[in-house]
Symmetry: C2
Subunit: 328 residues, 2 copies
Amino acid sequence: MAAQELTGYQAGIDVGGTKTMFCITGANGDILLLERRSTAAHGSPGLFFDWLFVELKHLLQGISLTLKQLEGIGIGFPGVIGDTEGQLSQAPALPWPVADIRPDIRRYYEGRLYLDNDVNLALLGECWKGAAAGKKHVLMVTVGTGIGSAMLLNGRLYKGANNAAGEAGYMVVDVGLARSRGSASGADFGPLEAVASGSGITALARARFADPAALPASRILTLAGGKPEEIETRHVLQAAAEGDYAALEIMDKPLEHLAAGIASAVVLLNPQLVVLGGGVAASGDYYMNEIRNRVNAYLPYPVDLEAAKLGNTAGAVGAVAAAANILW
Amino acid sequence: MAAQELTGYQAGIDVGGTKTMFCITGANGDILLLERRSTAAHGSPGLFFDWLFVELKHLLQGISLTLKQLEGIGIGFPGVIGDTEGQLSQAPALPWPVADIRPDIRRYYEGRLYLDNDVNLALLGECWKGAAAGKKHVLMVTVGTGIGSAMLLNGRLYKGANNAAGEAGYMVVDVGLARSRGSASGADFGPLEAVASGSGITALARARFADPAALPASRILTLAGGKPEEIETRHVLQAAAEGDYAALEIMDKPLEHLAAGIASAVVLLNPQLVVLGGGVAASGDYYMNEIRNRVNAYLPYPVDLEAAKLGNTAGAVGAVAAAANILW
């Protein structure tokens, strides 16, 4: 590992649609501060970064630091970011139009700056201080509302020709189903995430309980307060972990589809490790064990598959690693 | 392009199960010689390389060169090769046991040596002088008896943690079908290539004509001399290109499965270009157009898809590029 390469204070910030995580580290890479704030809903990047830097300065002040003392700042966004330009696009979770955000950041900070997609930075976080520490070939798949992925190949983030690599949610693991959906270009979700994400699991479960005349006996409904329309992914996962038959039945397809997608990515990329992140993957042993077994059933050779360790701090921690240009 | 980096004569050799291709280039990267020989069926690497270097010396002699004048030799094999060790494994097309082949080569040649998998070198060939000239992010998929792939990412071959990257034949694009086959570890073919390779197409066609009482009227059977058991992939491809209904029907599944696999690889890797190589892809416009349309129907954004240009010389040409350490 290369924490020695950190020579000063660094800030890593993970901007989410509802919450923003701040991480500040010292010269040896130790985490001095890790704090979460509600993301300001300002409709322009200018106002947003006014807010962000007020928060950052305030947090720095609390540990007797100033912005000028920061050697680097890394910031992750839920969108696609051009490598060098700082052009943020495809960020529906943020209330701004597509924008070049670099000038708005430069009004406040002149030091080393690294901007990237949040999943890429979460992977860097896991590679620095989490489940993938010390690995050089890592595939991270995040399963939450949608499905995303990021890749560390030969020790570097791989982003593709147009920074669009890792769109695992658009993988095709069921040709018949994907074909019947028609073109992917107009769809909210890709064919894999339509089934295997949290949104997919919730939709499958609600459909299963949609007919009041034929409600199956299931822990799911109890956990959802008896209201089918209030079933959430976590209810299905908990009921499945407890062995509830309807829940196990509902989970079969999402698990099998995700396992097929991960297996396809593994035979292409031959990673040392697959890290599973996001809210669904964090639900516990039931989910991880199912995915691990089903992925390996598809593979000609076994692969290690671990749950992410840093939870919702991975992006901010990874943003520090990126700002400090830590190499693996 | 970087042909300027070639400073001397180079040899590239592509060892196949039945044929071996030799390529010799001059200081400016021009191809001085390109010759194919039947591969000697010697059962040990020692005897095999005795034969290989006799052939090479003979070919060099014909253009007034000697082994000592070669600045580098690149050799591709149909198998998995350890990066530095020269340990050749998983090469069922060759009649040797698993072996460390480097000492046998060093008996004849002390200069710069590069050993790699044949698909990796075919990709390098296409990137140097073929369909992908000048590109930095390229996915190559070869469709022949089986299905293989290779990746140029950020201008370098990507090989994975254990030199096993690119096993596209093991991708899962039809969960139901793949699951019903059981574990992949014992199978001859991966789930994608079992359907979409030349072997898959032949098997589907022969099955379609297996019942003599229910033979469909089709060009396929005419092209195969009226004998269902002699149907080959090329008969199906030619009949389909001519609009034969039974052939189009047979091709639907192999085309759709390969397109789904390529689409999955594209959303993960975001390449600038996909190059399709191997005998099946070389069959003409019908096949390429079908694949191009079906891949793009699955993608959220379009991708360029081109047929390989160098045919069966790509591996030997790429072996030169590798030997000369040409960078993109």
